[in-house]
């Protein structure tokens, strides 16, 4: 192969690489500086989309009546076609001089066209101001290259790496053509000055590529280009967030694929219907409370968010609206790198018919938070080191099943909600802070709480205003409530039906609060009561039910309620003497806290895991 041919071929390949690289790099950038934005606001224009502080710029534009900044539809659709044509021309350029000239012309024309188009768009932006805007400015034209002053803002437009790649490609093809022609004229076919020049050009070409490889990769353009309903496989690497995925689309990551939000807004936003998002590590969202920035922010229906790791974010996964989505098998630790509890692990707001399954959550405010939801299933999740493990507010027909909440400030807070099911959960070791309850029930309508293990909390179950309305039923069945300082702490407006539970080994099994237990509290359903650790009765007819009622007469607890310091005397001889006196002399006998007419002799079977 001759030197001329080699030079042309090398130039063609390098030019193709540069053209390809231009699709991954910003073509143009705009920086706006003002005293109130010390770090400035940035806008980056790629061939197919725009990134940067679009939200803040949109708000500012709103004040001066400028339309919101969006990537123009026509240009973003034409860009991939233009790139495909350029790549074809570059690859064909060694074949004939006219093809090479066409490639040079086309490759040079694209960046010039982009600049002209951008300038026209900027002119349009500055000359279509809404006259009813809160702040009125005279029409102006931001410069595509250079500085422009608007109010107290100074904007600086400048071409960027993608643009240089296109210019470099055109230059490379042109120089290769010139070199080949000079070699032909001089008649030499031996290596000449062309070789070092080609090497230098190669270096120039490779440098942006090396620079780009150190930068986060662009995933958004691939997602934008993916046809609806397709599956996009993403290889390992660090990808730049924020990323917006509009369904239907499946985005599946190989091990080691990371999306980094660079501390701004939500890292991944899922919209539309039918997105599958699986296998990523998502990290580093914004941390503004009112922005509700999340690792993964979801709207729309029928999404599946599975097997992701979400860390160092405000909310882990925030689902606002929609239905029939599933969030499963994710590991979510919003505050791991900060030692604080930022937003919730999974926050669901205004969501219907969804499933939150088998997620592992730590270091969040609330592990799983439901607000204004309907028919959401929360099952098989593990939650620890959060404020509240499970939390329902204003939600209807939620089911919490087979979850494990341990060592949070509070295990499960069910408040202002209706038709709830709490089944088969293990809720334990909530012992720190002002509200160290295993289960907090407040103003709940219908409730079924069964087969749960509520163990080792300061207060196992606290109930207030349950059920919240007449005609509603709150049942506690087949639960184990054991090893807590107080098993059940019940306000006088709590009217639960408590049957078939094992209530044992608590310092105090049942503590009435306020004006004593409600007369509507039911400790048996007429045939079956509860298994009490302190029951000392007998069962002559062997029907499994004690022949004498269980009377909880806790003289010591009555004293503790009057003076908490008396707790120091628990299980001392003084305590035992008081209990003995109460048994032997009716004079010391307190009115019973509760009477269970059908106490169980054996520990009832349970279905909790």
């Amino acid at each position: 192969m001759t030197t001329q041919r080699l030079t042309r071929l090398a130039a063609a390949l390098l030019a193709t690489t540069l053209v390809g690289l231009s699709t991954q790099l910003p073509l143009w950038s705009l920086t706006m500086e003002a005293p109130q934005y010390r770090k400035g606001l940035h806008l980056y224009a790629y061939g197919t989309h725009m990134t940067g502080d679009l939200r803040e710029l949109g708000i500012l534009n709103h004040y001066i009546g400028m339309p919101p900044i969006e990537a123009p539809v026509f240009e973003t659709q034409m860009f991939p076609i233009g790139i495909a044509v350029l790549v074809a021309l570059c690859l064909l350029s060694p074949a004939h001089k006219w093809l090479r000239r066409a490639a040079v012309l086309a490759t040079a024309a694209v960046p010039v066209t982009i600049l002209a188009d951008l300038q026209w768009r900027l002119y349009e932006f500055g000359h279509t101001l809404n006259p009813k805007a809160p702040i009125r400015l005279p029409a102006f034209t931001p410069l595509v290259i250079g500085e422009t002053h608007m109010g107290n803002f100074e904007s600086t437009g400048m071409v960027s790496w993608g643009f240089f790649c296109l210019v470099g490609a055109a230059l490379l093809l042109w120089l290769a053509g010139r070199l080949s022609r000079n070699q032909l004229r001089s008649g030499t076919r031996e290596p000449s000055a062309a070789a070092p020049l080609a090497a230098m050009l190669a270096l120039v070409a490779v440098w942006p590529a090396a620079h780009a490889s150190a930068q986060p990769l662009d995933l958004q353009s691939r997602i934008t280009a993916a046809p609806p309903g397709s599956t996009l496989a993403v290889t390992a690497g660090v990808y730049r967030g924020p990323v917006v995925i509009r369904g239907p689309l499946s985005v599946i990551a190989a091990a080691g694929a990371i999306i980094d939000g660079e501390g701004t807004g939500s890292v991944v936003t899922i919209e539309g219907d039918g997105v599958v998002f699986r296998g990523f590590t998502v990290r580093n969202s914004g941390r503004q409370v009112t922005d509700e920035a999340a690792g993964i922010k979801v709207t729309g229906n029928r999404h599946r968010i599975e097997n992701n790791r979400v860390e160092d974010v405000y909310f882990g996964i925030h689902i606002g609206g929609g239905s029939h989505s599933m969030v499963a098998d994710n590991v979510i630790t919003p505050g791991q790198d900060h030692g604080a509890r930022p937003g919730h692990g999974i926050s669901a707001w205004n969501l219907q018919d969804a499933q939150l399954l088998r997620n592992t959550i730590a270091d969040a405010r609330d592990g799983i938070y439901l607000s204004f939801t309907e028919r959401v299933i929360v099952a098989g999740n593990t939650v620890t080191k959060c404020r509240y493990g499970l939390h329902s507010m204003y939600s209807q027909s939620a089911r919490f099943e087979n979850n494990h909440a341990f060592a949070n400030l509070l295990g499960a807070a069910l408040m202002m909600s209706d038709r709830l099911v709490l089944r088969g959960n293990r809720i334990e070791q909530h012992r720190q802070g002002a509200a160290a309850y295993g289960v907090l029930l407040k103003d709940i309508g219908d409730l079924i709480a069964e087969d749960n293990q509520i163990l080792g909390n300061r207060v196992g179950v606290y109930a207030e205003g349950v059920p919240s309305n007449a005609g509603r039923i709150a049942t506690f069945k087949r639960n184990i409530i054991a090893g807590n300082e107080v098993g059940l702490a019940l306000q006088s407006n709590a009217a639960l039906t408590v049957t078939e539970n094992r209530i044992a080994d608590n310092l105090t099994d049942v503590r009435p609060l306020g004006n004593g237990l409600s007369p509507q509290m039911r400790w048996s359903d007429g045939t079956t009561g509860n298994s009490w650790g302190q029951y000392r009765g007998f069962d002559a007819n062997r029907d499994g039910v004690g022949d004498v009622p269980y009377r909880l007469e806790d003289s010591m607890d009555a004293l503790i309620r009057r003076n908490p310091l008396i707790q120091a005397f628990l299980y001392t001889p003084a305590h035992l003497a008081l209990e003995a006196a109460a048994r032997m002399f009716p004079l010391y006998r307190q009115r019973p806290v509760l009477v269970d007419d059908r106490p169980l002799m054996n520990v009832p079977a349970r279905g909790a895991r």
Binding site: I59, T290, W349, F372, Y394, L410, A413, M415, G433, A434
Partner: protein
Amino acid sequence: MVRFTIFLAAMTAVSACHRASPGPPEIVVDQTVCSRCGMLISEPLYAAAYKTEGQAPRVFDDIGCLRAAARGENAPILTWFHDGEDRAWIPGAGTVFVTSTGFHTPMGGGIIAFRDAAAAQRSALEHQGQVIPSLVELLKSERGK
């Protein structure tokens, strides 16, 4: 005369100290409990407090909780909120509020307080909310989702 002036100044200072408005109560995140709903206060931005003469201060995790509790008070109340911009305690007098369904506050009140009316206006525009110009108007307003 000099002694009398010093005495007057000292008495004025004592009197001023005596009449000085009490400051807002302390809130310890994830430890202080809302006086109305019983939830732990975890986000100071949404937290508020009020005090009536001779009573201990009441703290709330949500401005909506304060609004509901304050409606039951007959005595004048001294209120404090957190500024939506710098999150510092601000007195209720002169505070402007923004209510929006976009604010997912602990009890669904959806209200944030602002020291600066322009900041409130910006926030309302940003979150498609409404500005409530004063505490009096806030207490009259209905609970939003």
